[in-house]
């Protein structure tokens, strides 16, 4: 999926948190937005997905202006969102949570392999209520639920937070596979540069609600530039 954002501004009450943001994610591309806390990363995602009213700006998906569309319509277009704090149905089982992700999304069957492949320990707990999972397992389920609907654009807020290293490695691998195989696009926000170095094609640094710097992780000196700005922003 191609996502284009033009001049997006949003905030709470009288104050703007993010101002005049432009962003483009190509099909199969992975873009990461990094920045310290309070710089507007989560606000950006929420405004992008229509979870927070936008003050200005247009959102275009595959050439189609979707600015006026409510969140659930965006999801039906194939955008999956895994928020920062668990948005699971605690009383429902793991399996029901995965199926629920599908109800909201496009029609089709649950992509069991893609959802559970990276998380064998979830596969063993399909009938357990999601609320009884450990904190890290709940993060896994959030990701699995997003993957289960075979999204075309996956939007992640601090994806690997609280996951143990083997799971992080598997997530990175599955995302890479799906990008290559079926053109999954990826938009990630993260405070931690290290977490997205292996994942992203492009990294944007957000500072006080604006994109300040853009680097490709493979470019020479990119890591140093980004780290420098992260520390001194």
């Amino acid at each position: 999926m191609r996502l284009e954002v033009f001049g997006l501004s949003a905030g709470y009450g009288a104050s703007l948190v993010v101002t005049d943001l432009d962003l483009r994610v190509e099909p199969g591309e992975a873009v990461a937005v990094i920045g310290r806390n309070g710089m507007g990363k989560t606000t950006f995602l929420q405004a992008l997905l229509g979870l927070l009213p936008r003050r200005t700006g247009r959102v275009v998906v595959d050439g189609c202006d979707v600015t006026a569309e409510p969140t659930h319509r965006l999801v039906r277009r194939g955008i999956a969102y895994a928020p920062q704090e668990a948005g699971l149905f605690g009383a429902l089982t793991v399996e029901e949570n995965l199926r629920g992700g599908l109800l909201a999304g496009r029609r089709g069957t649950v992509a069991w392999d893609e959802a559970l492949g990276p998380f064998p320990q979830l596969a063993a707990r399909l009938r357990q209520p999601a609320g009884t999972l450990s904190g890290g397992e709940q993060r896994m389920l959030l990701l699995a639920r997003a993957l289960a609907m075979r999204p075309r654009l996956l939007v992640l807020d601090e994806v690997c937070d609280g996951l143990h290293p083997p799971a992080v490695a598997r997530v990175v691998q599955v995302l890479r596979e799906q990008r290559e195989r079926r053109g999954l696009s990826l938009l990630v926000v993260e405070p931690n540069l290290k977490a997205v170095l292996d994942l992203a094609d492009r990294i944007l640094l957000m500072k006080r609600g604006r994109f300040l710097l853009e680097r490709s992780p493979s470019a020479p000196g990119a890591r140093e530039d980004l780290e420098h700005e992260l520390v001194f922003s």
């Binding site: 310290r36 920062q84 320990q121 450990s134 890290g136 993060r139 609280g162 290293p165 083997p166 405070p191």
Partner: protein, 606 residues
């Protein structure tokens, strides 16, 4: 800059003083300007307003929805009635007696009786484990209904007729007006002092997040009983004055209808604002009496509709939006001056006894229902060390940490502490362990949403000690390490920002800073650096290391970032499938073949 702020303060205070003076003068002019009926209505409205304030303290500030508040008021009025009348065989009042002294004694007795009754109800509601916040609402409602019915059955209460004719005749109409106005003033003053005090913060903290308050060492159940009893005593004082002024007490004063009416005044006016309930009571009382004459049938319906409309459209009540409008009109956009500041405090610390065992776990088992989480964990935590707990998701790390901080979770095996005044673990509540020096930071931020950063730290600093009921601490003394954490994370620029308005990462940082501010012996930190940048992680790590090495704190920490663990940990325990897989220095762990196979190995890409 400073004088701009000072002028802002002057203007704010000036506006507030002028508004208050105008209101007070207008109120005192009531008898001059109004007719007899208006004066009578106003007198009653002041009493109701004072009653609304007492409910606002209990419900608006402490979050205890008391649907039987009329009962406490009724007890106050009844005490005066019973002590100043003689009831005949037929249940009618046959004689009225007693001087001012009798009335005063009756009011005091009424307050005492009311507080006791409320304490019994509160103790029943709050001590029962697993009771939700609606439990107290249902029980108080039942108490109100039962008391109204019981009242009718008794001869000493006057039964159907109630007791009447016992108003204190020393004072005339106008004097009673002034007394009731003064009563309202006093009640409001008590309310203002209490809610602005450090204790007021604790009340809001309990309303926002009981669990967190317990984890900071506060005896939440006991405090809630005390707050309910205090509110009841205040309501009984108002009831006593009502009795002396009006000279009438009957069953509806205890009833559900009257109880609901008080709730409506508070809700429409704006709970948690003190002034809102006062306006709500006065305006609604006035409107009801005048509209009652014009639309006797429709009036109740109108109030009901207004109530529903307020709850749906302005859940905060009418005063907060009105206040914001006034503030804009009168003060322009002038900012508030900084409310509170942090200063580093001297705290006990030192590395004596380094390496002694402070917590010993032996064969600890735990299950959530059928799900076995811990299968025999044995380990030791030693004084002044930074012990990292690592392991796959679902290995039981958080559960183990929760268990160490809460002796009331049913578990097998044993946990022993060797801290000052703390050795037994089993059966000890979270708040008990917190007061004795064991405090846990949760995996996901759990804060008091309406408290600011500084206020949260102030409460954390108290660690279960009762905060002052009248003093308002502006310069908050917290341990240097907590000040440092605030500076490093940027929290120090948001000291007067409410916790709910902070971004996720700063909420994490605040939770960590609050845990440190409480200055426990043993810190249980569940992923304290989640959501931080690599640089922030490093500096937080340095603060934690300083806390353990120099200041003698013992830290047990859950972490997934193995580089971070490697730099920081004195010792590492690897948990897997509810058991200890390995225990040793981070070098030993890295070299261990078991760990490599069981956990780390999977992280190297194939």
């Amino acid at each position: 800059m400073a004088d701009v702020i000072a002028r802002g303060l002057d203007r704010r205070t000036a506006v507030r003083t002028v508004l208050l003076a105008v209101a007070a003068v207008a109120a005192m002019l009531g008898p001059v300007l109004g007719d007899r009926y208006t004066v009578y209505l106003l007198t009653q409205a002041f009493i109701y307003a004072a009653l609304a304030v007492s409910l606002d303290l209990v419900w608006g500030y402490a979050g205890i929805l008391d649907l039987g508040h009329a009962v406490w008021f009724g007890i106050g009025a009844l005490a005066v009635g019973v002590m100043t009348t003689t009831v005949g065989r037929d249940g009618m009042v046959v004689a009225v007696h007693g001087g001012a002294g009798t009335y005063a004694a009756a009011v005091l007795l009424g307050m005492l009786a009311s507080a006791l009754a409320a304490a019994v109800v509160g103790a029943y509601c709050f001590s029962w484990r697993g009771s939700t916040r609606f439990y107290v609402a249902i029980v108080t409602l039942a108490v109100s209904v039962v008391c109204e019915a019981l009242y009718l059955e008794q001869r000493w209460t006057g039964g159907d007729n109630g007791l009447f004719g016992f108003q204190l005749r020393l004072l005339d109409r106008i004097a009673w007006y002034e007394v009731c106005l003064a009563l309202l003033g006093v009640t409001l003053a008590v309310g203002v002092v209490l809610t602005r005090s450090d204790f007021g913060l604790l009340m809001r903290a309990i309303r926002d997040n009981e669990a967190r308050a317990r984890h900071l060492g506060f005896r939440v159940d006991l405090l809630k009983v005390a707050i309910l009893a205090g509110g009841a005593a205040l309501a009984a004082l108002v009831g006593g004055v009502y009795g002396a002024a009006v000279g009438l007490v009957s069953s509806p004063l205890f009833g559900f209808l009257f109880s609901t009416q008080i709730v409506v005044w508070v809700a429409i006016g704006g709970r948690g604002t003190l002034l809102g309930p006062v306006l709500g009571a006065i305006v609604l009382e006035f409107a009801s009496s005048s509209l009652d004459r014009s639309f006797p049938d429709q009036w109740q319906l109108l109030v009901g509709l207004a109530f529903v409309a307020v709850v749906v459209f302005i859940p905060d009540g009418l005063l907060p939006p009105l206040g914001r409008l006034l503030e804009r009109l009168l003060l322009g956009g002038e900012g508030r001056r900084p409310q509170r500041s942090l200063v580093p405090a001297a705290v006990p610390g030192g590395t004596e006894g380094r390496g002694e065992v402070v917590a010993a776990l032996s064969e600890v088992t735990f299950a959530y229902g059928a799900l076995q989480v811990l299968r025999g964990v044995s380990m030791e935590v030693r004084r002044s060390e930074l012990l990292c707990l690592i392991g796959p998701n679902g290995a039981g790390k958080s559960t183990l940490m929760a268990l160490i901080g809460d002796g009331t979770m049913r578990h097998g095996g044993s946990i022993r502490f060797q801290l000052d005044g703390l050795s037994v673990h089993r059966g000890r509540t979270v708040d008990h362990l917190a007061r004795r020096g064991v405090i846990r930071k949760f995996q996901t931020p759990s804060l008091f949403e309406s408290l600011t950063v500084a206020e949260t730290l102030l409460l954390a600093r108290h660690r279960g000690q009762l905060p002052s009921l009248w003093r308002r601490t502006r310069r908050i003394e917290v341990p240097g390490a907590a000040v440092e954490l605030c500076r490093l994370s940027g929290l120090d620029r948001h000291l007067d920002v409410r916790a709910s308005a902070l971004p996720h990462g700063l909420q994490q940082a605040l939770e960590l800073a609050a845990t440190v501010a409480a200055w426990p012996e043993l810190l249980l930190l569940d992923e304290p650096t989640a959501g931080l940048t690599a640089q922030e992680r490093r500096v937080v790590g340095e603060v934690l290391r300083h806390l353990s090495r120099e200041q003698g704190r013992t830290i047990l920490l859950i972490e997934h970032d193995l580089e971070f663990v490697d730099e920081l940990a004195d010792r590492v325990v690897v948990l897997q499938d509810g058991g200890v897989l390995a225990d040793g220095s981070s070098d030993e762990i890295k070299r261990s073949e078991t760990v490599r196979r069981g956990y780390l190995g999977a992280s190297t890409p194939p």
